[in-house]
């Protein structure tokens, strides 16, 4: 436990909560059994970083989970895998079977008296289940709708027991931390949030893909050095730095470190590290509309601000995009987004609101053009 704390590891799912701290809460709770859930419900659009781990290196994750189970005093682990990854399900199940056969999982692992069992639970298509309390509801066989917090899952989680939910990437960092030591690990990348990070770059770059780089790598370098720059001779227009729920950054704001501390200062969030790159052929009104169509579809319907807010944002954006916008629509959009911000049950609503606010903040002129001329200079 001390080693994990010393490493400074932060959750890689999006929120960036210090892992060691989260664990100590669950460990301190006297209730048993404790459960360890791996969040493999990678559904944030733009994100495809966990799939290579699941499909190409499942034993890394299994090892990470065994270590976590040992530290936490948890004897049962579940991998909550998204329904859209059937290939990964087969691979994971096969890997788990191998691990049982080799006695790396079971009642008495390697004869060391440590017990840990692991199984896969496959979801069936619901983005919201990436939120930890919704994931817990879902694994209990209910609709995936978030729970009220507190109590936090570390005290009352799955099957009402102390539960740790960690992202695939987070758990996959553990074997490495144990191998090189927390101290050495904390020297990689940014000071406040150390370690390697998987960045997945998509959109208009020459070499899209998943890149493992030190946390805090400059966003500009990720795009221009690692991903080879903008393709087809295009010019960079905007970047969504951490998956679709994070606010957009205009081309002149990308000279910043990609970590949990620097990104908020730059006006966005690290999120899942999913960098979506857009060149100057992209109409931002259309991107905003497509993003909201997603949020409206995936809103679980539990709380009013999110259910109604995403619906109205999508409706207004649809008419603006089609050139049927009215005067005052921009104000209306900002208004709805402001009302949603901070008032929804879980971060899905905040994400949706933040996306619209970011788009209007940086690309207001395109919205104005759409309303005034029925279309924008890109003629869409």
């Amino acid at each position: 436990m001390e080693e994990i704390k010393r490493s400074g590891l932060r959750g890689r799912g999006g929120a960036g909560f210090p892992t060691g701290m989260k664990w100590s809460f669950a460990k301190a709770d006297p209730k048993f059994p404790k459960y360890l859930l791996c969040n493999a419900d990678e559904g944030e659009p733009g994100t495809f970083k966990d799939r290579p781990i699941l499909e190409k290196n499942p034993h890394l994750l299994i090892e990470g989970m065994v270590i976590s189970g040992y530290v936490l005093g948890s004897e049962y682990g579940y991998i909550y895998l998204r329904g859209e990854y059937p290939a990964a399900a087969d691979i994971l199940n096969a890997a788990i079977k191998q691990a049982y056969e080799a006695n790396y999982l079971g009642d008495n692992i390697n004869g060391k008296g440590v017990k840990f069992h692991l199984a896969v639970h496959q979801g069936a298509g619901a983005y919201i289940c990436g939120e930890e309390t919704a994931l817990i509801e879902s694994i209990e066989g209910k609709k995936g709708q978030p729970r009220n917090k507190p109590p936090f899952p570390v005290n009352v989680g799955a099957w009402s027991m102390p539960t740790i939910v960690n992202n695939v990437e987070t758990l996959s960092n553990l074997p490495y931390i144990i191998e090189i030591g927390g101290e050495a690990y904390s020297n990689i990348g940014s000071k406040e949030c150390p370690g390697p990070k998987l960045f997945c770059v998509s959109g208009h770059v020459k070499k899209p893909g998943v890149y493992e780089l030190p946390m805090g790598t400059n966003l500009k370098d990720i795009i221009y050095i690692h991903a080879g720059g903008i393709r087809d001779g295009g010019k960079l227009k905007a970047v969504i730095p951490g998956g679709i729920s994070t606010p957009v950054l205009p081309a002149d704001a990308i000279d910043c470190a990609m970590d949990f501390v620097a990104m908020p200062k730059a006006g966005s969030m690290l999120g899942s590290g999913a960098v979506i790159v857009m060149d100057d052929s992209v109409c931002m009104v259309r991107v905003a509309y497509r993003a909201l169509k997603f949020f409206e579809h995936e809103s679980c319907g539990k709380c009013v601000p999110c259910r109604e807010g995403t619906d109205w944002l999508r409706k207004v954006l649809a008419r603006v995009e089609k050139g049927k916008g009215k005067d005052g629509d921009i104000e209306l959009l900002s208004d709805i987004a402001e009302i949603m911000m901070g008032r929804t049950f879980c971060p899905l609503g905040d994400g949706a609101a933040g996306v619209v606010m970011g788009m209007i903040k940086h690309f207001k002129n395109e919205f104005e053009e759409h309303i005034k001329n029925g279309r924008c200079a890109l003629s869409c």
Partner: protein, 162 residues
Amino acid sequence: MIDENMRQTIEGLIKKFPCRDSAVVPSLSYIQKVKGHISENDMEDLAIILQFPEARIFSAASFYSMLKLMPKARYHIQVCTNVSCSLVETETLFDHISGKLGIGEGEITPDGLFSLESVECLGSCGYAPAMMVNSEHYENLNFKKADEIIELIIKEFTGKYP
């Protein structure tokens, strides 16, 4: 109807978890895998096996987008139209496939071979545009590649090209 064989498999799924409730979604997915879709009858049977109210099963079955309560085609095509993919033109890919098969969103071809749906991110954003046919991912697509995939299925099925 859930037969004895399927019941055994479902009992096996139940054993993986600390309580029976957790097996709802895995069981429903399993039924769908075997039968293509989930009928009301199946849900009634499942309620008896899992020992809890049918309403709870129905509530889960209707919540998750991958669970289908209506018959599907033999090959279910899902085209991602989310942002990363639409940056590289999947909306037109969807229209292309839709035109080729002569069916729209959520429809089934008259011979029951294909159904089409536009979906959210499939986790292939770096290799866009992407689609899934049943449980298989297809990436880095273009019109030609999509045509080939569809034609291959048709060929396999009827022994001749369209």
